[in-house]
Symmetry: D5
Subunit: 147 residues, 10 copies
């Protein structure tokens, strides 16, 4: 047994039962973004959160324990993603990467936006010319320091 | 001469003159996100926009013309970026890529968030525990269709 | 169970029963291009379409559900394909890639041809010097916009 | 001097003089698709064709000779293209590659579509929901033979 | 079941029974080069040829059908082969690749040697200083054409 | 100065003067295959051979000396070649690699075909259905030995 | 001009003048670890720090400005380093990577050691069996949070 | 059975029983750093050490023997790690690699820090601004010698 | 069944029975270097040698036959090895590769050291400052010839 | 100026003057193996050694100083070498890598052969069946220790 096996069981159960991530998140009591990442094997759950998830997906006691172990993160099979939806995000990094860098440094100086102390919100943005995906990311700025 | 040479001249001039992207953007009259990307060789300017940029950075008439030619896009030297700031965005794609995919499909069905009909806003988010980088992305949802 | 397992079952059943994609497509009532891509795990079917496919290939109720889930797309095992037929298309991208780029930009300006709002038709073109493969691709032009 | 240097001079001259590939093609008397590929260093010109191109772009006698030498083909800097327009074609190969393969084999048997005995036509397809890029490819089918 | 599984069964049976490819080829009635490639999953057999092969290797009816399906070609696990015998051929491409290119273009003009309309003969060449491997390859020349 | 620089001078001179490799080979007194490889920086010439080549291509005394130094071999810019002509040879290795291996081992036992004690002859093979490229390779078989 | 050019000038001057990084650091008034990284193009200097460095290495006013611009970080030419000293650190990550992960998570829970809020001290550790390199790294622990 | 299988059993047992590496290390009587690496398949245990580990994790006699065999080392699935915690160490090598090199050579001359005659200590460093991870590495300096 | 499966059985049996390669080699009657390579799936055994190995490791009749079939050679999972012991040999090629090349060419002219007609002897070299590994390699020089 | 530039000057001078590495080594008073590696930019020379080399190759005072600086090691342009002579050594690592590992561990236990405390001797071994290259490597065994 491994975290990967638990993730595959969760996904297969979701397909078989026709569950929705937003409903799972509501039962866990946290954002759909974090809960989905956790169910997909990228985050660590508390005992209580793991209990909720285990019940929803019919996990055994041992499978539930894997949800509480810090996983080896990284959810994609190749370094350049082949899935068109995910590739578009990679493309944004490729095309706008130096723009992110210039503007953050202009505003904050040398440092990074944390990908750990980070949260994200994904919404549908109605638009007469075609609805839009709206994603708001918020990460703490961490400055480099001299020593 | 090539677009790359023009980009390098713009960046070198920016360092020598101590310019700021937000000031350049204000003179061009567009968002700092788009203007920075354009100056870094990722977008195509109109004659008028190119004229403003050419004057700011002291470009020749031929260099200005390159700003109006669609560039070969992609701003990073390696497929996995080594710069820590840019890597954090790549890490977000790696860790959250399948989460983006699941949640967008749950909300919209099969399709992608356009990286072309797309806009972005980057702001400082004051926070007593340390200021945060806030990025809002908005891209049109494009559905796959049967035929 | 996973979409990959369903795809493999479909392909194995096709070999065992000697089915043809064009017949499958006729039963589904859509183009052979889209239906083949869907059966090979690249597109998402509606309940009705999935029902037809499930019956043809003898899928279980759970296997049928996977056809209705958005798959992780990308159908090739390596980034440069080794199969000679598929490589020829990669070669076209390699040799003609900058030509596509120049001519589309000359005609439309900066933007892309959508690979999502896209359709394709593949036909045999009789020719006394040897029949030809004729492929017509049609994708919506998506312009980059300033903001 | 090399073919690459000649290509770069052609492209730089095109930018400086504001030429269009379709006009160049008209003067050469061939399709814009083939002429653009040739000017971008992917095809070999006859003495007459090279003479026309050399005059348009102000090439020297030695530079003109390079147009008549078979080039080392391949126009992209990385095996997975970073430019969004060109990537979409790569994505088509990735997503539809096995579909191309299945349908061509179903129609023709084992073999390939030639990328050599090949022609291509790229047109604007007016559409009220947004104009489309239409590309028709025609390549001779080459069967594998036993021996 | 898949073509790969059939290939592995053929190879395992060959080892267990101590068969020789040249004998298999004689029974099929074609060259040992083509028959070996076919048995190793690179070529497509007719019903009759598949019947002979199926009998020799004890294949089931379903396994035999896979021999008649066009396979996903490519027989090596890595893009640069590690096996010393096969690497020597890769080395020939690496060292002599530009020589092949120059001499074929000098003789034929722009185009390629077909790897599809192609045949090959491999023989032992007795030599007092050590026997030699002699390989004769013959592929149709396919010229690029203007259009 | 380096061997690469000498190779580039040879190639540029060949284009400028319109020379043919077969004529160069005739003056050197060896096969066109070996002489072309040598001029392209893959083989080492004797003083006499280098003298002939130096005169043909107008090399200086120091440039001539580089022809007599063993080069760092390998003539292609990427591990999977992008040029269609050269790729076809790579494809032959990919598709027929295991066939080469099986047939050579069946005939000779464990060992390799030498790529060093090796010669090659490339000819035009007239054929009413389209002329063919014929390549005969002959390499010494080198057996693995126990010790 | 670019930061890379400034770094190369600093390194060449250091060789020509026989300077030591520890002396440079003493003049800058910071640790040798940070100052060396900064001079090698990985950190951003204040105007004052840049002034000291510029004087030591004879930089022009424009070169000095580059020291104050946030650089594109990453100091190695390949993703797996070839230099034996640097490779040993990569080897530590390869061999001990999962150990780092297990022990930090056991002590702190899910999160990372910051490579930004980070400092390092490198010392000679005298030892009769051969002196040792002692490196102390200290990075802030950053926990993942739910949201 | 293989060392990998034994490692997976150890990790799965640790999750199921809720063990801690520091407790395992205390029973083995060695540092937690070394014992964790050993349990994760990177080090070789003596019979006595293996006996303790086998008892803790319920290994069979044959599984215990694998702990005493030198393993094929390397604990990460990709050459650039995707896990954020482990990536930060890779980032340190990328950003500080040349700094390590310069400072060690300045102090010791040409040579390396051994990754074999090496020890490591990982501690929590309490800090009011957020606790820190403190890692002390100590490796023997090995000089290159002339011969 | 495959050669890989036989190799894994041999290695697992060696661990379970506590065998030594030097003892296996003594029973086979050949050097430990060659016999170890053969047992690890890199060399081909005669019927007699395979009989000895099969008895030692308890192989079945079919498993024994695989030892007599020429294997697909190459024993490492990645092109740059992660195991520290094996990496040191790769490092020697990386650091000393051009030295090998220069000195062999200075002594022998253009050609290679055969890796086929090759033998190797590995010994412990006692040394008061720490015992040494001594490896003597002897490979036939194969000259390139003109033709 | 850089070490690479100095290496290229040394090599170009060697070709122009027709020098031999063994003569250079004799003047330096060390083995030809070490001196060649040093001249090729892989080792660090003392002032005295650098003086001898500088005189032989006509280096300036600044160029000579680069010989005394520890270089960034690694002498090959690709991770899998294309040069046939050097590839054979890489092939030995690929084919015999696990054999090296097994035999060294059987003799010495867990640890490595040092590539730093290492020496090498390369000789011609006369043999009536063709002279052989004989290479003797001697590296200190470094054991892993517990802590």
């Amino acid at each position: 047994m491994s975290r990967l096996a638990v993730t595959e069981k969760i996904v297969a159960t979701k397909v078989a039962k026709g569950l929705k991530w937003s409903d799972v998140a509501a039962k866990v009591g946290l954002s759909k973004e974090w809960v989905t990442a956790a169910c997909l094997g990228q985050m660590t759950l508390t005992a209580e959160q793991a209990g909720v998830v285990a019940e929803i997906f019919g996990l055994t006691a041992d499978e539930k324990k894997w949800l509480m172990v810090v996983p080896y993160k990284g959810s994609l099979p190749t370094s350049v993603p082949t899935d068109p939806l995910i590739y578009r995000f990679y493309e944004l990094v490729s095309v706008y990467g130096t723009t992110f860098k210039e503007l953050i440094h202009e505003e904050f100086g040398d440092g990074i936006m944390s990908a750990i102390d980070f949260k994200m919100d994904l919404q549908r943005e109605p638009d007469p010319k075609g609805d839009r995906v709206s994603i708001t990311m918020s990460g703490k700025f961490l400055p480099y320091k001299t020593y």
